[in-house]
């Protein structure tokens, strides 16, 4: 017969007595609350930690602290040597690892054909990123600090005179050894991040560029890299931030702990104008912020808890500034690409 002879059942928008519906809604709410608790508990723990550190540092984070080197006397202890050491270490690490890392990613994604060798390399990069950092420290100690003993011991090695640069062989416990070790440590991260950003650039852009008579390199340089730059920059900054905070491999591979050491004897930005000092910096002994903090924490006297807290605050400020700068750089790069 006709359809309208069967009355459609009444529909309702309130759960009422329907237990199945109510259970479903209840569950949905529970999950939502659980997720909210997860977020807030993480934030609370972080806030507690931060406030304790800030609290401890009050009265200790002063001009004297910022202007003194590492010391075993609490009233003379400072973070300046660590700041300069970290500055040189990170500068060299970035200079070494970023071109190599981005270059490797460009090769793997844009040039390498898909054969067994490149597949093996690609899968093992992820494994390398997971190797404990202390292992890199040991590698750095053998390969860079001692150079496998090829040039004799640390004190009996050679010196290469290259004008402004006097390069000790083996490198010994110098900034350059630390930077090379750190570069090994962060290269897998840089490469993987760069690969992912390159892969995110649509293939059609490459094809269109090549179809207009561009060479591969022109396509990479003018189309692919600019489009991938924001992503590459993010990965690079995450990797460098990791290097700033990393301690264990440097303890293995050379950072000196208790000392008032400034690489190249550079103690103020004005000293950067002296080329001989700048040239000497990579081959000087050094300490870093996390190494200094680590040393302060190990000292049992109570004052040093405050000294360490002051150091942590400085380290965190540096990291924050660094990440903020990174965000700005990334936004600039993203603006150039007119999606």
């Amino acid at each position: 017969m006709s359809a309208d002879s069967v009355a459609a059942p009444k529909i309702t928008f309130t759960p009422g007595a329907d237990n199945r519906v109510r259970r479903r809604l209840l569950w949905s709410n529970l999950v939502r609350q659980a997720c909210r608790i997860a977020v807030y508990s993480a934030i609370v723990v972080l806030l507690v930690l931060l406030s304790v550190v800030f609290w401890l540092s009050i009265g200790w984070l002063d001009a004297q602290f910022l202007q003194s080197g590492t010391s075993r006397l609490a009233e003379r202890a400072g973070i300046k040597a660590g700041l300069w050491g970290s500055f040189w270490l990170i500068l060299l690490t970035a200079v070494i690892s970023l071109p190599i890392g981005v270059g490797a990613a460009v090769y793997l994604e844009e040039y390498a054909s898909d054969n067994r060798l490149t597949r093996t390399i690609k899968t093992n990069l992820a494994n390398l990123a997971g190797v404990p950092s202390i292992v890199y420290g040991m590698l750095g100690l053998a390969a860079f600090v001692k150079m496998f003993g090829l040039f004799g011991g640390l004190r009996s090695g050679l010196q290469l005179n290259l004008g402004l640069l006097v390069v000790p062989l083996p490198f010994g416990k110098t900034v350059i050894s630390g930077a090379l070790t750190m570069s090994l440590l962060i290269l897998p991260i840089v490469i993987i991040a760069a690969q992912e950003s390159l892969r995110a650039v649509p293939r059609s852009i490459r094809i269109a560029s090549l179809a207009l008579g561009a060479t591969r390199w022109q396509t990479v340089w003018r189309q692919v890299l600019p489009a991938a730059l924001p992503g590459i920059a993010t990965g690079a900054i995450l990797a460098i931030s990791r290097a700033i905070g990393e301690t264990a491999p440097l303890l293995m591979a050379g950072a000196v702990s208790m000392a008032r050491i400034y690489p190249g004897g550079i103690e103020s930005p004005m000293d950067l104008l002296d080329p001989s000092k700048v040239g000497a910096a990579p081959f000087s002994a050094y300490t870093t912020m996390p190494t200094a903090i680590y040393e302060y924490i190990k000292i049992p006297e109570e004052e040093f808890a405050h000294v360490a807290a002051a150091g942590i605050v400085v380290l965190m400020i540096v990291l924050t500034v660094f990440n903020a700068a990174a965000v700005v750089i990334r936004m600039r790069a993203a603006k150039k690409v007119k999606w």
Partner: protein, 275 residues
């Protein structure tokens, strides 16, 4: 059976004279016994086809019959796909483009390509059009500005974008983007333009603008266009090639193919009986 008088062939666009005598024109493209393989899969069989210069040739045929593949053999874009092989000879202006001393970069500069899906670069409108000449080493700012303007005018886009050349090309509409891609191809001053379904994603107005554009361009350029739109093929082309399952079934003057095809398959296809 349908007869010639019953067949309706739409009038051609301005600039395309379907009855034009091309015997004086020299050959722009000459394909001789071309076979093509993706790995072990052969998708083109013994294709031979002559294209006179300054003419429009339409490639038609059902989906998957190898039109795009054939088009890509003409500027060696298939090189970008792993594990492909071409045999036979393809001559462009009498030169074998698959010979060892041919540089694909130069080949593609002279044999431009417009894709089905418009692919503007994430750059400004100006930089999109100037890209080809710039990578070829052109630096003169006034020359580039003039060239960009004239190419945009040729592509019938100038009036719509002249006030915002520095805006992102991604902000243009689909039809505008496609005309931008045509302008971009013109800017490399190619001799031959390959178009793979350039209007398939466009509305009727944009489509007819692109068809008019083809009519204007064919006095200077040799154009090979793939299309699924029979009306379009008959409106814009001097000659039509019908592909079926990797073979060239029939190739001749567009009027003849559409009114009096020699092959039963061609007739079935253009009358919409399959495909």
């Amino acid at each position: 059976m349908s007869t010639e008088s019953q067949r309706h062939v739409p009038p051609s666009v301005k600039g395309v004279d379907r009855d034009q005598d091309m015997s004086e024109h020299s050959l722009a493209i000459e394909a001789r016994n071309v076979d093509f393989y993706y790995g072990n899969l052969q998708v083109l069989f013994d294709i031979s086809l002559l294209v006179p210069e300054r003419s429009v040739t339409a490639l038609i045929g059902p989906s998957g019959c190898g039109k795009s593949t054939f088009l890509r053999t003409l500027n060696r874009m298939n090189d970008l796909i792993d594990d492909t092989r071409v045999s036979g000879k393809i001559l462009i202006e009498q030169q074998d483009i698959n010979s060892d001393d041919v540089d694909v970069v130069l080949l593609r500069k002279h044999v431009g390509m417009v894709f089905q899906k418009s692919t503007p670069f994430p750059k400004s409108i100006f930089d999109n059009v100037a890209y080809g000449p710039r990578i070829a080493g052109e630096k003169n700012k006034t020359y580039l500005a003039d060239l960009v303007e004239s190419c945009l005018k040729q592509a019938a886009l100038w009036d719509e974008v002249k006030g915002r050349l520095t805006d992102s090309a991604m902000a243009l509409s689909g039809g505008q983007q496609q005309r931008l891609c045509i302008a971009r191809t013109l800017a490399t001053t190619p001799r031959i333009i390959l178009m793979d379904e350039p209007a398939s994603a466009l509305d009727p107005a944009s489509t007819s603008r692109i068809e008019d554009l083809i009519g204007e361009l064919c006095s200077q350029y040799t154009i090979v266009i793939v299309t699924h739109n029979m009306q379009q093929a008959s409106r814009v082309s001097h000659r039509t090639a019908f592909f079926f399952e990797g073979r060239l079934i029939e190739f001749g003057p567009t009027t003849q193919i559409f009114t009096n095809p020699a092959e039963k398959k061609t007739e079935d296809y253009i009358t919409g009986r399959f495909g």
